[in-house]
Symmetry: C2
Subunit: 408 residues, 2 copies
C-alpha cells in the first residue's frame, strides 16, 4: 500500500541546464498524477527561488502532449537558479510550502542542488514539517557520487564527440594545432568524451587533459611538439578546470584575475580566455603558426537537436523513480543510476542524500592513461553506450594514389 | 554532341571546409565518369598545392558506395589549402597537368579559390595549354557574387540556428547577457541566420550585428541596456568581422594586435577574443554581472551530423552541372545558383569567372533593419528554405500560474 501523506507535489530544477533535464520533470509530473494522495503537481519557476517568490505553474493543468514536447526540448523548462538556501531561506520556503500544502519536493540538479535537498531535508525535520524531499540527478559534468553516470552527460558527451569528429576533419583539411576547451570544473568525463570521436588511427584528440591530473606547461608543450611532428597536426581536448600541481586553476594563473559565481566557484565558462592563452603558449613556445582554439561553451549543454536517446530515457526514468520512492516507500534521498553490466543495462536505487550532497566524483584512475594526457580503453567502453544510437560517422576516400610522373 | 577534348578530369577543394563540400567533389566524380572522353578522374590532395606536389588520388578506382559515404561527411575529404597561385605557380601546375594529361580542372571553393580558377584560366590560355577550368561555389559565408546563395551556407546556417535556439533556452534558465560570435569576415549572412532560432516573441537573438553596418560601441551598449531592461536578459549575435565606422576591425581595435593568414586576411576565427572583449565592455559599461560569450569557431563549419538536406542536394548538383558545362559546352566559368521563386526552386547557370572571382557579396539593405542591429522578415523568408527539413523545435510549458497565497 502506498504512503497516504496527502498534499501537493512540487518539482523544480537547479543549476546548469542539460539537454535532457526536462525529461526528469516530465517523469515526475506524469508519474505523480497516478497517485490519488497527490492533489496537484506544481512546478517552481527558477528553482528554490521560485518557492520563496511563490512562483508556481500548475502542471496538473498542462496537457500530456505538451509535457512530452517539452521533455524533448533542451535546457530547464521551469528555468533555474544558482541560489543555495541557508536556514533562513529554508524557513521562508516551508512557510510557502505550508500555505500551498506541498508535501513532496523533487529537485532536479547536480552537486550543489543535491546539497540544497540535504539542507531542506534537515530543516524540514527540525521544523517538524512533514515533507518528502528527493534529489533527482542531472549534470553534464557526470560528477555525482554513487552514480555510474548522470542524466545529461550522455547527450553532452554526444555533442562533444560529434564536435571533435568534425574538428578532426577540419584540422586535417587545413593543418595546424587545434585546442577544444570543454566544460568540467573538477571532473574530466565530458572532456574525455572527445576521445569517442576517433575513428581512424591517426585521428584526434591526440591529447586529452582533465582536471584529475595536474597540468604542467612544459609537459604540455612537449606533448604537442611530439604529436605535431608525428602527424603534421595536433588536436587537443582540455577541461576548463585544469589546474597546476599546486591546485591553482590554469585560467587564474594565466589570466591573473577571476570572476566567481554565487557558490564561490571561479567563472570558467562563457569566456574563450583559457583556449586563447594555451594557443599563445604554443605559438610562442613551439613556433607553430597555425594554432586555433574553440571554447565549446554553452552549446555543449543546450544545443538544440543533439540528444542521446538512451540519456533521454534514463532522465525520464529517474524522475519517475523519484516519485515512486516517495509514494510507495515514504522516504527521502537521492535517486542514483547503477550499471550492473558494462554493455549495458541500468538499475535505479535511492541512497541517503548525504552520500551525494555537495560531493564531487572524479574520473577513476583506470580511465586516464599513465602519461596523464589521454584516456584508456576502459573509459571508451564506459562511455560508448551513453552516447545513444545512430551516431553520425565520418568516411574517408580510399582511392589509390596516382604514381608520380615528374617527381617519382 | 559533347565536347571531344579527351583527357583526365582533376577535381580539388580550396579554402575553408563546409559541411557539404564533399557533395560537390562526388558530384564531379560520378558525373565525369559518364563521359567517354574522360580517361580518369583524379582528386588533388590539399587543393592546388597537391597539383604542384603531383599528389593525386585516382577517384576512378574509388567505389561508388564510398563516394556516397564521403559525400555525407563534412569538411574537405580531399583536404584543402590556402595557397593562391601566381604565374610561376601556375606554370608548375601546367607542367604537372600536361604530364598527367589533365584537360579538365574543377575547383570547389569560395572567393579566393574562384580567383585561383580565374588565374589558372588566364595562364592556360597564355601557355596555349588547352584546359577547361570551372569554379564550383562553396562557402559558409554565402558571399559569392552572382549566387542567390552558396552551397555550405544552408548547413552552417542550420548549425547557427540550432545553437541559438539552445542558447535562447539556456539564457532564459539562468538569465544574463549572452554573446555568440559567428563566422563572417565581410558578409553577415551566417550571423543573420541566428535570427531563425526565434520561435517565441521574447526570444533572441534580440540584437544582431553584421559587418555590413559600422559597429559603434556606444550604440551597442545602449541597445544591450534597453533589451536587458525589457526582458531581464539579452541574447546577441555578432559577426567576427564587425568593424568601426572607419573600417577598422573591432578585434584589431580592442585587442591592438592581429595575426594574418597567407591571403593577408586578419585572423578572426580560432580565438575567443572578440566575444570576451565585448563582454568586458558590457560588464564595465553597464554594470551587468552575468555576461557570457561563446565563439562558435570551427564547429559551425565542420560539426559532424548537422547538414541541411537541401544544401546537400544543391552542393551535389553544382558539381554535376560543372562537369556538364565542361563536357557538353566546352566552356570555362563559375557555376552559380539562381532562385527564380522565393519559396522555392533553383536554377543553375554558368557565368564568366571574372564576375565571381575575388569579389564579395554583401547582405542587401532590405535584409538588415533600419537600426542596424537586427534582420528583416525579407531575410528570414530568404533564409528559411535553406536550413532544410525537420528542424528541431523548442517547446515551452503553458501550464497556468498558481495564484499566490502569501503575497497575492
Amino acid at each position: 500500500m502506498s504512503n497516504r501523506l496527502e498534499g501537493k507535489v512540487l518539482v523544480a530544477q537547479g543549476g546548469g541546464p542539460t539537454p535532457v533535464i526536462n525529461q526528469s520533470v516530465v517523469g515526475v509530473a506524469l508519474e505523480a498524477r497516478k497517485f490519488s494522495q497527490v492533489t496537484s503537481v506544481y512546478g517552481a519557476i527558477h528553482g528554490v527561488r521560485g518557492i520563496i517568490d511563490e512562483n508556481f505553474l500548475d502542471l496538473t493543468r498542462e496537457t500530456t502532449h505538451n509535457l512530452e514536447q517539452v521533455s524533448g526540448t533542451p535546457s530547464s523548462g521551469l528555468l533555474s537558479t544558482r541560489d543555495k538556501p541557508d536556514e533562513e531561506y529554508c524557513a521562508r520556503m516551508f512557510k510557502v510550502m505550508q500555505a500551498h500544502d506541498i508535501r513532496y519536493f523533487f529537485y532536479v540538479g547536480g552537486n550543489d542542488s543535491s546539497d540544497t535537498v540535504r539542507i531542506v531535508n534537515e530543516q524540514a525535520k527540525e521544523a517538524n514539517y512533514e515533507l518528502r524531499a528527493i534529489h533527482i540527478p542531472k549534470t553534464i559534468d557526470n560528477d555525482l557520487e554513487e552514480n555510474d553516470h548522470c542524466p545529461g552527460f550522455g547527450s553532452a558527451a554526444r555533442f562533444v564527440s560529434q564536435a571533435f569528429a568534425g574538428v578532426n576533419l577540419d584540422n586535417r583539411a587545413l593543418q595546424g594545432v587545434y585546442i577544444g576547451v570543454v566544460m568540467g570544473r573538477h571532473a574530466g568525463f565530458l572532456t574525455a568524451a572527445s576521445s569517442m570521436a576517433q575513428k581512424y588511427f591517426d585521428e584526434g584528440p591526440h591529447l586529452v587533459y582533465v582536471p584529475e591530473r595536474a597540468f604542467e606547461m612544459d609537459k604540455f608543450l612537449g606533448d604537442v611538439e611530439r604529436t605535431y611532428k608525428q602527424y603534421g597536426l595536433c588536436t587537443i581536448a582540455v577541461s576548463e578546470g585544469i589546474s597546476d600541481p599546486q591546485g591553482v586553476a590554469m585560467i587564474t594563473k594565466l589570466l591573473g584575475t577571476e570572476e566567481r559565481d554565487s557558490h564561490g566557484n571561479i567563472q570558467l565558462s562563457g569566456t574563450g580566455a583559457l583556449g586563447d592563452l594555451l594557443a599563445n603558449e604554443i605559438r610562442s613556445g613551439l613556433g607553430i603558426k597555425r594554432v586555433r582554439s574553440d571554447t565549446f561553451g554553452y552549446l555543449q549543454r543546450s544545443f538544440m537537436g543533439i540528444q542521446s536517446d538512451r540519456d533521454a530515457r534514463e532522465a525520464r526514468e529517474v524522475g519517475e523513480k523519484a516519485v515512486q520512492y516517495a509514494m510507495w516507500d515514504n522516504v527521502d534521498g537521492s535517486v542514483v543510476i547503477r550499471r550492473p553490466v558494462l554493455n549495458y543495462s541500468v538499475d535505479y536505487d535511492l541512497v541517503p542524500i548525504e552520500k551525494v550532497a555537495g560531493k564531487t566524483r572524479h574520473m577513476p584512475d583506470n580511465f586516464i592513461n599513465a602519461a596523464g594526457n589521454g584516456v584508456t580503453e576502459d573509459f571508451k567502453n564506459y562511455c560508448r553506450p551513453l552516447l545513444g544510437s545512430n551516431l553520425p560517422e565520418s568516411h574517408r576516400l580510399r582511392a589509390p594514389k596516382v604514381p608520380k610522373i615528374l617527381h617519382p
